[in-house]
Structures are given as structure tokens and as C-alpha cells.
Amino acid sequence: MNTDRPIRLQTENVGVFYGSKDAVRNVNVSFRSNTVNALIGPSGCGKTTFLRAINRMHELTPNTRVTGKIMLDGQDVYGSDVDPVDVRRRIGMVFQKPNPFPTMSIYDNVVAGLRLAGEKSKVKLDETVERSLRGAALWDEVKDRLKAVGSSLSGGQQQRLCIARALAVEPEILLMDEPTSALDPQSTQRIEDLMESLKQQTTIIIVTHNMQQASRVSDTTSFFLIGDLVEHGATEAVFQTPKDERTEAYITGRFG
């Protein structure tokens, strides 16, 4: 683990409740600047739930409550003086299910976040579209039809469009919820390469069901089980010498 890097994001006793049901409990974990961090665990263990707590997405759902603190650069993103809009500008998100804006062109999809932030310069927008689409390994496939609507793409292309849309605003933290689960091996490879290069600018937290992917791309790995963070540590350590036997069982494919 790159222990020399400063801590960027730290959670303190984070819990998430859907109504009275707690889906995530007591998560204490920190993510260092310019690293890729994998969240793994069986389906339904709370990975998405935890991820959405970080950029305050839960408050859009009625009856959902987040407890504890999430410190971004030492400031609680749930602090009373913090604007959730601001938090979400700084913390980008790629959702588990692709959700491009279907009536907007590919171009407009990519720059949607920039336009929201008030960017008007055509040069800057053009430049961002190319950079983001290249980053998301989609440029070559769509460069001749940037005016086509977002919904005219295949499912995998739509997911890469969503990745480009998230990249365009250059977020400080990028949350990715199984970004490659709908992609072919070649696109997956390019997204993994992208994460490697994006580390220069951002901190990435990625949910994945793919153990090889987690070990390939991530610096740290967090293993969740039924709402609890069972183990967190350097990826190598978690995969080679897991401290908890449940982690070992999951990684070696004995359950989950």
C-alpha cells in the first residue's frame, strides 16, 4: 500500500438504514490519495449502499438514513454547512446500471456536468469530449456520430459513455459501481488501464465482483459481508494472507 500518500477519504462509524433495516453497519475505513480501492463481497452485502453514502445519494431516497461521518480532506461531507450539490461535484459516480440521458446527444451527455458547472467555452467542451471519450475507450467508436442520441449505443457503450460523463468534470474522488460488468474483455482492459492512469489525478473507489480485476487494479481491498466491513487492507495482503477466514473463503471462491 502507498502509505506515504495522505488520507483523502475517511469514514467513521458509517451506517446506512433503509427504514429500520440497517444495510451497512459501523464502517471505519480510509482511502489514500491517488489510489484505486476495491470493494468486494457477495451480492447484497451492501457495497452499493456504502458507495452511495459517500456522495450523499441516499438522501434522495425517502426513509433512508446515513449515520456516522465521512471525512473528505478532513471535512465531514454530511456537515451542516456542506452543500450536497458541492459534494457531488467533487465526488463523481458511475452507476451499476448505465443511465445516459436518452434524449441528449453523445456530446451533450459527456459535457452535461461541465454545463451544469457553467462552462460555456466551445473549445473547452470539445476538448473535454475527446479527452473523456478517449479515457473511457469509446472515442474511436463514436467520434463520427457525436450528435447521435445517447440511447442509440449498445449497453456496454452506454456504460462507457457514463464513465466519460463522470470523467469530464475531473472529480476528486470517483466512485465506480461495477463499471465493467457489462463490458467485453477488451473494453474492460481499457477501463482498467484508464483507472491506472486516472490515479494521477483522482482517488478511485470501485465495486467489483471480479476477483482478478480487484487484484489487478487496486491498491487496497475492502471485503464486505452482510453489511459489515470484514477486512480492509493492502490488496496483496488481503488476497495472499487474509486475516479473516471468511475473506479467504470468499476470495478462493468457496462461497458468495
Binding site: 434522495l60 457531488r88 459516480m93 436518452p102 434524449t103 463522470a166
Partner: protein
């Protein structure tokens, strides 16, 4: 009659099928034949009105039954003016109401308000007409007088183009609002989340994600409202003043295609008069069909498709 109802397990299955099919075809033909007969009547009468007046029937303004002149342009214009005026007033209000219900109001408030709006859509038009005469016109008359005197128009009497627009707007707001609310509710939540995650405010989410996604459905509601405004007869007849001429200004009494038919049919003495009124009915039918057809094209082009 019992014998004609196909009974299961009696006779062979295919014979029961054939009988059932015959009943369906017979019933369907009744509908078809009725529609056909009705179109033919409209068409024949319309043809005779056009035969007498030529294109003057739709482009001329001389409507003088006593002297046998039947040119319907003022009423065609009246229908367009009232309908478009009503839309201009109704659409922003209906859209605001539907957004309030679907996106802003908490459930305890949104549900009763939505119910109330649906209730408004079910009020018979004669009741709206009475309300127009006894509430809307007296309430807006001071404004109408003020407007007329500031613009140098002749003094308004109350019933007229403006009152009809206003009343139509009130009548179609519930339609447009109810449909818009339904389609806004159908916008998938992940669309809203996509915008929120990019740092959109609530209003930006509506502008970027909700309205574009729902635009085809909202437009469908608007066109339905337009259709109702074009066809609405009774309430309009009660508040438009029924003057058989082109309106001089926004406040003057005039008539629409449907109001002229309703207010004149009883007195239509000559065959020319009757066939001219039916001819106006034919034009009304054509207008309704064109609106419907355009709506389908626009809606099909605006509907988002192919999202996973």
C-alpha cells in the same frame, strides 16, 4: 340469445371459435359502418356547402343566413384563437402544477392535490359554463374594462373571445396536469440520480433529466388538451358571446365552429343553412384529425428509446 354465446365443451372447439369470431366481426362492423355513415353525411353536406361558396366557405367572412350567405372563416379563426389562447394560458400552469405534485410536494399534500385535479377533469362542461357566466366573467370584467380603455378598444360586455380562452384554459389545465404528472412519475429514478451525481440542483435535475425524458408524454397531454379545447362546445357557447363575425379585438364577442353549430342548429331553416352547419362540422373533423396526426408524429419523434 343464450345459444349465440359460445359454451365451452359443447360442440367442437373450432365451431365455437368460428361462432365467437362471427360475433366479434359483427360487432366491429357496426362501429365501422356507423363511422362510415357519419363521415359520408358530413362529407356530402360539406361538399354541398363548398359547392355553393367554393373556397369562400372556409376563407370568406360573410355569414348572413337571412340573405343566404354562409362563409365560415370567422368561426374557424375563432376556434383557433380560443384553442391557442387557452393553451398559452394553460400549459405553464399545468406544467407547474404537475411538477409541484410529482417532484416537490410531500405525499400527504401531493396525493390530495392530484386527486382534486383529476376531479376537476370530470366536471361536466355545462357546470364550467355556468361558473364562467356567474364567476369568471364578473371577476375578470374590471380587468377587461381596464384593458379596453387603456388600448382604446370599445367597451367589453364580458362574454367574448377572452372569456372563452380563459374558461377553456381552466377546463384543460386538469387534463394536461394529470397526464404530465403521470409521465413525470414514470421517469426512471436512475435518470434523476445521473443528474444529481453530476452536481445538479433539484431544478437542474428537472431541466436536464426529467423534462427531456418526459417531453413526449407531456406533449401528448398538451395535444389532448388542444383537442378538447378545439372540440369543446357547450361551455364556450355560454361565454363567447355568439356574434357571427370575426372578433375586432381580444375582448369582443365572436363564435367558434362548435359554438356556431350549437347555437344555430335549432333555427337553421333552409337546407343551405343546415348543410353549411354540417359542413362546418366536417371542417372541425378534419382539423381534429390533422391535430391528432401531427401529434402522433411529434410524439413518436420525441419519445426516448433504447435505454437499457
Amino acid at each position: 340469445m343464450k345459444a349465440t354465446i359460445p359454451q365451452p365443451r359443447r360442440g367442437s372447439g373450432s365451431r365455437a371459435d368460428a361462432r365467437f369470431q362471427a360475433v366479434i366481426v359483427a360487432l366491429a362492423s357496426i362501429v365501422l359502418v356507423t363511422a362510415l355513415a357519419y363521415s359520408v353525411v358530413l362529407l356530402l353536406n360539406g361538399a354541398s356547402a363548398f359547392g355553393r361558396e367554393g373556397l369562400g366557405f372556409v376563407f370568406g367572412s360573410n355569414w348572413d343566413p337571412a340573405n343566404g350567405h354562409f362563409q365560415a372563416f370567422p368561426f374557424i379563426a375563432g376556434t383557433f384563437f380560443t384553442a391557442i389562447g387557452a393553451l398559452v394560458i394553460a400549459v405553464p400552469l399545468a406544467l407547474a402544477a404537475s411538477l409541484f405534485i410529482a417532484e416537490y410536494a410531500p405525499d400527504w399534500l401531493a396525493n390530495p392535490v392530484a386527486y382534486l385535479i383529476e376531479l376537476l377533469a370530470a366536471i361536466p362542461s355545462v357546470v364550467y359554463g355556468l361558473w364562467g357566466i356567474f364567476v369568471l366573467i364578473p371577476a375578470t370584467l374590471p380587468f377587461q374594462k381596464w384593458l379596453a380603455s387603456s388600448l382604446g378598444w370599445s367597451a367589453p360586455i364580458g362574454p367574448g373571445l377572452f372569456s372563452a380562452m380563459l374558461l377553456l384554459a381552466v377546463m384543460i389545465i386538469p387534463f394536461i396536469a394529470a397526464i404530465s404528472r403521470d409521465v413525470i412519475k414514470l421517469v426512471p429514478n436512475d435518470q434523476r440520480e445521473a443528474a444529481f451525481a453530476l452536481g445538479a440542483t433539484k431544478w437542474e435535475v428537472i431541466r436536464y433529466a426529467v423534462l427531456p425524458y418526459a417531453r413526449a408524454g407531456i406533449l401528448g397531454g398538451v395535444i389532448l388538451g388542444l383537442g378538447r379545447a378545439i372540440g369543446e362546445t357547450l361551455a364556450v357557447t355560454m361565454v363567447i358571446g355568439n356574434a357571427n363575425r370575426f372578433p375586432q379585438n381580444l375582448l369582443s364577442p365572436t363564435a367558434t365552429m362548435s359554438s356556431i353549430i350549437a347555437s344555430n342548429f335549432g333555427e337553421a331553416s333552409s337546407p343551405e343553412f343546415v348543410s353549411s352547419l354540417i359542413g362546418i362540422g366536417f371542417v372541425l373533423l378534419v382539423v381534429a384529425l390533422v391535430v391528432n396526426f401531427l401529434a402522433r408524429i411529434v410524439i413518436a419523434r420525441l419519445t426516448p428509446q433504447g435505454t437499457v
